[in-house]
Symmetry: C2
Subunit: 503 residues, 2 copies
């Protein structure tokens, strides 16, 4: 086990001889979570310093599409304008199904109840959303439409239990440019506040804690100098996940090593999580991650069939892409293929960037079966059965929606989507510090670690698995949990220390 | 989150005003691990006290079949006498495949290299093994034979990479009575040693640790009195797993809630793990557990087919039962059935205790398919394909061994083996404190917690998942890791404290 997976020893308060800086709230990391934490803490009257290791704000939020998963309370402005009602209960049911046994019900409840208000808060910051609905099934929205389905809401079994509504909110900007725009707006909001100071190129080294692991501040390195920072209210860890720390991924989330591309920013080294663990915080859900085969666009891929090396289908192909990807990873087989008609393949070739290569083609099903070296008769039987029911608009096997059923007529093409054989499998981590909905960090006794808060990927939030992911849940969670953590730290500064920064 | 999942706060050394007892090594728990720890510590010259909450020795080992997974180094005496050579490398390869990505290579290497010597040590205690091989595929050995295959050694993919050898060692006793006999022998060995004292009905409440979390002893309750115990060398936690702590199972290993029967003794409340966590130890692999569908005996069940509600097979049915059970749990389906011919069903009815009920019968495959409400044509296709290849002695789908291939001729019977619908799904936990092979307990920084040792299910040992389990690995690991932990604690007593009990 290397150093890179070890918890970070805190600096002991008794060893600190002076403070180089003092503030109410110290935020580590200036991505979506850190930015929103700083804004909320400042607006609650606290003096804030944000320490960012990079030379600019952004974090993984800036690299993302910045879709934001929001709804409930009857609907956000965009949902209503687009003709969708969305009840808090439907959203809660859907998100609870997504998280399954790993759910933190209290956190999900709080998220759903306050989600529409979070939309309004973002709009208040100046984040623009167009009142329009994007009809096409897409992984991200390349138009400037404000709303789209970004999960498995319309797919079985979710659509049986939770009234579907689109909840992916997309910024009012053309192309996949939501992340940079979002962080630009957050950055401007931070700049506009006199009580927030930002230190870029500032590497947080460790927390400062007393012998009871109460957090009093941190040590940062700026210009090759170690500086001690007192944070009267507390430190808010918004330092991202650990997807860029290969040793941590190997140790905690080895399943993710099936992926081909670590999705995140170089700062996602787990440093925030390791600092938290160093003062006794509990890291939970560390084995889980988001890992996916982003097989659409084109949406028409959804008509295709995913089969394994026994010619068995494995899931309804109309679910969210990481749910399908997870089904591939869980399936007991060495190879997986996407089988398409020539028309479907034409769409794939012209617009997909999944990177899967053609494994075989067949003028007949028998020919494709032979080329793929599938057991004799196996693919013929699978396609026969699928077509038999598809012609009637049914999928008694996996309940794919009639909207996505097409009789599969040869010639057929099979793409190799086995992880490790060329297709694109991005991944990131979903484990982090255990927190209350307030952002307070918990130890294994479920007692709070005084003075320590966490948000975004450094915390374990509402999203718990690839199987139950929907686009927009990460930025939704990061921005929402950042706000709560910032507010909590600010309140502690005021109440515990009598800080006089209250407006 | 209830108290029952919270780490146990240690008693601080500074609060201890006197010691009611003093010893070199304190062992918490008198099952297989604790018994072997005590014997080794005593034989290394230490004074030992064993605290057992029950009124007799036994733990979960006494409730088990006490099969012990051993081999390597050319073979144990029983392996050799039965005509099997067993290389350390073959055993290592097999166990590494079993543990997969969760493997602790150092621990597995140490286990395999010393496994044959462990056999000799057990024989030295008086544990009897007959030099005979049990041919039949069995979950446990009901004869007094000394050796049998207890895992997936002969099944794909293991048999392709590791030369198979039977490594399940069964005590020389008729019936499923290995556990009581084993613990009787361990108990006699403990009694025979003057430097071991046993306190029954003694509940370990918490560890005593200084402010640096170095462990100095423990607090126990005996006769409703709290007693402080100083342990100069250290405390060895052998208090079992947490399968009886429902809250802990829900929190850490929710997948196990699919099971129908918690396998263990009432003391498996996780108390040892929680005490360790209370002094900063890391608990790892907590999400994993053993959960199984013990579908054999009769061995002839292996000829049957496990299918889901799409009539798909899911795995080679000749693997170890928990590997098959895990495949059911991972499979994306609501129902699973065991399909048998009438002859196979006859065997099942006469000798199985799996408890699965008949879901349907059919004079023809079509009839069975209809009765099970499987999609039209689906089961017919699956059976046709299986039979086509089985007639040739092949299973190109899942690589079931030719030994277990039989053409499935109607009439057929289907048993419902869906978890939660009547069949027997026992389970226990496989997570615990992180330890070195020496038994020293580690914190999240992978630094040892001085004075703390753990073994058996309180530690996370060589066995990491249901998918890669073989019978005998638990008792093998418990007894082997107990010995190492006991020896380590004894050595520390001698070296750190100048104890003069060395023989």
């Amino acid at each position: 086990m290397t150093e890179k997976t070890a918890a970070t020893q805190p600096r002991r308060l008794s060893e600190i001889t002076h403070w180089d800086m003092e503030t109410d709230v110290a935020v580590i990391g200036f991505g979506g979570a850190g930015g929103c934490a700083a804004i909320e803490a400042a607006d609650a009257g606290a003096e804030v310093i944000v320490f960012e290791v990079a030379s600019a704000a952004g974090g993984s939020t800036a690299l993302s599409s910045a879709e934001i998963y929001m709804g409930g309370s009857g609907g956000t402005r965009v949902q209503k304008a687009s003709g969708f009602e969305d009840s808090t209960e439907a959203m809660f049911t859907y998100m609870m199904m997504c998280a399954g046994r790993l759910a933190d019900e209290e956190k999900i409840r709080n998220y759903c109840e306050n989600s529409a208000a979070h939309f309004d808060w973002l709009v208040g910051l100046g984040v623009p959303f167009k009142d329009s609905f994007h009809e096409e099934r897409a992984m991200m929205c390349l138009t400037d439409d404000g709303l789209l389905y970004t999960g498995s809401e319309n797919a079985w079994p979710f659509n049986e239990q939770a009234t579907p509504a689109p909840r992916g909110h997309n910024l009012y900007v053309e192309g996949d440019n939501g992340g940079p725009l979002f962080m630009k707006i957050v950055g401007e909001n931070v700049e506009r506040r006199d009580n927030i100071r930002v230190e870029f190129e500032a590497r947080a080294l460790t927390l400062v804690a007393d012998e009871h692991n109460r957090v009093h501040g941190l040590v940062v390195r700026i210009n090759q100098q170690e500086m001690t920072v007192r944070a009267r209210g507390g430190v808010v860890l918004c330092a991202g996940g650990f997807v860029m720390n290969e040793e941590m991924v190997n140790k905690y989330a080895p399943r993710l090593t099936e992926g081909s591309y670590a999705l995140g920013n170089p700062g996602d080294t787990g440093s925030g999580i390791l600092m938290g663990m160093g003062v006794g915080a509990a890291a939970i859900n560390m084995q889980e991650g988001f890992i996916t085969l982003p097989y659409y666009p084109p949406a028409s891929m959804t008509y295709g069939l995913v089969i394994n090396d026994k010619a068995q289908r494995i899931i309804n192909e109309d679910v969210y892409h990481s749910r399908l990807g997870n089904a591939i990873l869980r399936d007991n087989a060495d190879r997986h293929y996407f089988v398409l008609t020539v028309e479907q393949y034409g769409d794939y070739e012209s617009s997909s960037w999944m990177g899967a290569e053609v494994a075989a083609t067949g003028e007949t099903v028998e020919e494709l079966e032979a080329e793929l070296a599938l057991p004799e008769g196996s693919l013929v039987a699978t396609i026969d059965q699928y077509n038999h029911f598809a012609a009637r608009g049914e999928d008694p096997f996996f309940h794919k929606s009639p909207d996505w059923l097409q009789v599969m007529k040869p010639p057929l093409v099979a793409l190799d989507v086995t992880p490790g054989r060329g297709s694109y499998w991005p991944y990131f981590t979903l484990g982090g510090l255990d927190t209350l909905p307030t952002g307070e960090v918990l130890d294994p006794l479920r007692k709070t670690v005084p003075g320590l808060y966490a948000a975004g990927r450094t915390a374990c939030g509402v999203v718990r698995s690839a199987e139950g992911y929907s686009s927009g849940m990460s930025i939704g969670d990061a921005t929402f949990s950042g706000r709560l953590a910032g507010r909590s730290a600010a309140r502690r500064a005021v109440s515990d220390n009598g800080a006089t920064h209250a407006a």
